[in-house]
Symmetry: C2
Subunit: 179 residues, 2 copies
DNA sequence: CATGTCATGTAAGGTGTTACATGATTTC
DNA sequence: GAAATCATGTAACACCTTACATGACATG
C-alpha cells in the first residue's frame, strides 16, 4: 500500500462525512477544521485526481440546473481501509508551531517598548476574535449536527482550540503587564 | 529594500546575540527557539550565503587549532536596519498550527475507542515531556544568561510555551475522561 | 575503536500557496 | 450592474527537510 501525506488522509476522512466534491471539502475545512488543518484548492483538486488514479475513490460527474457541473467523489473499500489504517498509526512527532509574534518578541531588545506592547495588544485581539470564532463554530455544530455521530469528536477538537487560545490570551495579559 | 522571509530575519536576529557561524545559529535555535521556530542546515547555509550577497552581513573565515575552519558572520548596518524594519512590521496573520492528533480525533468515529484513548495518552505524555524541556531551557537561561539583556524576552517566549502546553495537557485529561 | 562534537555545504524531492483562467446564476 | 456563490482546474513559485558528502579531533 502506498503512503500518503496527512493532507491526503484529511481529504479521505472528509469524504466520510457526506461531503462529496472538492468544493464541499473546502467548505467543511474552512468551517470546521480550519483551526488545526487548512488547505487550498491548489491541493484539493490534484489530490482528488491522484486518489482516483490510486482507486481509493471513485468519481461521478453530476449536472445540476442553475449550477455548474459537480464531480462527486466516493470512498471505495480500498479508500476506507487506507483511512482506517492511517488512523491506527501512532503519531510520530508533533511539529513545531511557527509563531511570528514570539519570533519578534525574542528579539524584542531591538525594538522600542511601546511597539512591542502594541504588537502584543494586536495579537491578543486576534486571539480574542479567534476564540469567538470557535464559539460560533461550536454553536453551528450543536444546532446543525445534533444527531451527527461525528459531532462529539468535532467538539473535542474545538475544545482544544478554545483552551489553548484562552491560555495564549492569558499569556498576552501577563506579558503586557510584565514589560 | 528587498523582502525576505521570516526565517531569514530569524537568522539575522540570532546574529545579534553573539552567535556568528551557521553552526552556532543552529545550536541556539535548537536550544532556545525550538518551541516556535526550527530550521535545518539546508536552510541556514544557503540563507547566510544570500545575506552575504545582499550585503546584510559580512563573512570572515577563521582558523582554529584542533577544530575545523569557521565562517563568522557579522551584521552590517544595512543588515541591522533590515532587522529593525522587520520588527516594526505588523504581523499579518497567525498561521494555523497543524495538529495530527486533532486531525485523527476529528475522524475518531472510524476508530475503536481504546485506540483513540491510547493516542490521547501518548500525546499527553509527549506534552508532559515538552513541558519538562521548557523548564530545563528556563533554568539554562536563568543560569547562563543572567545578565544578558535578551534574557527577559527569551523567558517571555518560554512562558508562552509553558502556558499553552499546560492547557493542552488539561485538554487531554478532560477529553480522556469524556470519551 | 566507536561515538560525539565541531564544521560546511549541496541536490533532490515533498508540500503548500497564490494567482490566474473560466463562466453561469443569484442576490442586493 | 456589482458582488457573491457555486464550481473546477493549472502553473509558477516559495519554502523546507532529508540524505548525502567530507573530515578532524576528543572522549569513553
Amino acid at each position: 500500500m502506498e503512503k500518503y501525506n496527512n493532507t491526503t488522509y484529511a481529504i479521505l476522512g472528509i469524504l466520510t462525512t457526506g461531503c462529496k466534491s472538492g468544493y464541499d471539502i473546502k467548505q467543511l475545512m474552512d468551517r470546521s477544521l480550519s483551526h488545526f488543518w487548512k488547505i487550498s484548492y491548489g491541493q484539493i483538486y490534484p489530490t482528488l485526481k491522484q486518489l482516483t488514479e490510486s482507486e481509493l475513490v471513485t468519481v461521478t460527474t453530476t449536472t445540476q440546473d442553475g449550477k455548474p457541473d459537480r464531480k462527486e467523489y466516493d470512498l471505495t473499500s480500498k479508500g476506507m481501509e487506507a483511512l482506517e489504517k492511517w488512523l491506527l498509526q501512532p503519531i510520530e512527532q508533533t511539529p513545531v508551531e511557527r509563531n511570528e509574534v514570539l519570533l519578534k518578541l525574542f528579539f524584542g531588545r531591538h525594538q522600542p517598548t511601546d511597539k512591542t506592547l502594541a504588537q502584543l495588544e494586536d495579537y491578543k485581539q486576534k486571539l480574542v476574535e479567534r476564540l469567538q470564532t470557535y464559539t460560533s463554530i461550536e454553536q453551528a455544530i450543536r444546532t446543525n449536527h445534533e444527531t451527527d455521530p461525528d459531532a462529539q469528536y468535532w467538539l473535542f477538537t474545538l475544545d482544544y482550540g478554545k483552551r489553548t487560545t484562552a491560555a495564549a490570551i492569558d499569556w498576552c495579559n501577563a506579558t503586557i503587564k510584565a514589560i
